[in-house]
């Protein structure tokens, strides 16, 4: 028989279980297999009731984020061979309510993301004949990093502040607000300011920095938050020093 590896998968059935439990599965260990392949093997061959989210298999859709041996990971980019021969423990993303097995409830994140108005806001839209909004490569460069976010929520699962204070807007939502604030075509920074600069916005962040460590797309949400703290502090000083008209 080919080499195998043990997968300890968190199971939770809202109909039957009072709390999550672990179920162990033996799956083939193949060099090119990621944790998601193992989960699909279980669902296809061993237990069709195993429930988890996935879609693209290539680190773009952000659906398959789970805790792998206690670390938030995209399971489509986490190779079984890196853990062998020890068993691999797969759990739903930390700090979110669990719907079933490995599926978490993400409405809280989506609500917070929407509150940030993550779209281009114009005071006045250009008319079609005036053409597109042009941007230099340098202007693109100033926000491009933040635009790589795939909403996988690994940063939330890495953030103890979000775990302890569920009102915190969280890393990805703030990084995406910055993605639009730093876009030269956007004029909505003032609209995002009150949401970002409240306590549950940037100031709840204590700069643990783990969001940046776990981000699979190198967005650096911790950097985005610290940079906005600087912006907000400057705005506060301005409001203190300058008369109303000049601001």
């Amino acid at each position: 028989m080919a080499e195998t590896i043990k997968l300890e998968v968190a199971r939770y059935s809202p109909e039957r279980d009072a709390a999550p439990r672990f179920e162990t599965f033996q799956v083939p260990l193949r060099k090119e297999w990621v944790v998601l392949d193992a989960l699909n093997y279980i669902k296809d061959r061993l237990d069709g009731s195993l429930t988890f989210r996935w879609s693209c298999r290539m680190g773009i859709c952000g659906s398959c984020g789970m805790m792998v041996n206690g670390e938030p990971k995209l399971t489509c980019a986490t190779f079984l061979a890196d853990y062998a021969p020890a068993p691999v423990r797969v759990e739903p993303l930390r700090y979110f309510p669990i719907v079933r097995d490995l599926v978490i409830e993400m409405t809280d994140f989506l609500r917070k993301l929407r509150a940030m108005k993550p779209w281009i806001i114009r005071k006045e839209e250009k008319s079609l004949p005036e053409g597109e909004y042009l941007q230099t490569p340098q202007q693109l460069d100033s926000y491009k990093q933040y635009s790589m976010c795939i909403n996988c929520m690994l940063c939330y699962a890495a953030c103890p502040v979000y775990g302890l204070d569920p009102l915190f807007s969280g890393p990805a939502a703030i990084a995406l607000a910055q993605r639009y604030n730093l876009d030269s075509r956007d004029e909505g920074a003032n609209e995002r300011f009150p949401i970002l600069s409240q306590h549950e916005g940037i100031w709840a962040c204590t700069f643990v920095g783990e969001c940046t460590e776990v981000c699979p797309k190198h967005v650096d949400p911790a950097g985005a938050i610290q940079r906005y703290k600087l912006t907000a502090a400057k705005e506060w000083f301005k409001s203190l020093l300058l008369p109303w008209g000049v601001r």
Binding site: Y12, A18, G70, P97, E105, P160, V208, R227, K229
Partner: protein
């Protein structure tokens, strides 16, 4: 993990979510979290050094006898032990914050972002330079 609502109350249109509770000892579960908590804690020791400096200035203003008493107090084993621990924490504070500095500072030069190592390096360079100046003063100029 403990459930807040252990009794099964599942219904078709309102599935019963399991809400995990964050353990009180979450900061012991991962080295990076422990490092963060120690870093936050180190600020107490930084404040302690400030207090000691203020006490020293106060002793200085109260005349030679007060300063001699202050020096004697500083030489007591308990204070030396406390200062040794404080020094380790202050070093930890410095190193961790220097390495976090590039996260907060996105310095751009000639259209390009200044590399992180350069920002960390500049912090260390400034630290060494200021320490040399302080040492020069301590040696009597």
């Amino acid at each position: 993990m403990k459930s807040n609502n252990a009794a099964p109350g599942y219904s078709l249109f309102h599935p019963r979510w399991y809400r995990p509770r964050v353990s009180t000892y979450w900061w012991l579960h991962q080295w990076s979290y422990l490092k963060f908590v120690l870093r936050e804690l180190s600020s107490i020791f930084v404040a302690l050094f400030v207090v000691i400096t203020l006490l020293q200035l106060r002793a200085l203003s109260h005349g030679p006898q007060a300063y001699a008493d202050f020096q004697k107090w500083m030489k007591s084993p308990a204070v030396i032990a406390l200062n040794a621990v404080s020094f380790v924490f202050v070093l930890f504070h410095v190193v961790t914050w220097f390495h976090l500095a590039p996260r907060a500072m996105a310095v751009r030069f000639a259209g390009k972002r200044v590399p992180e190592l350069l920002i960390v390096g500049a912090n260390y360079a400034a630290w060494v330079a200021i320490s040399v100046v302080v040492a020069w003063f301590l040696r009597g100029g």
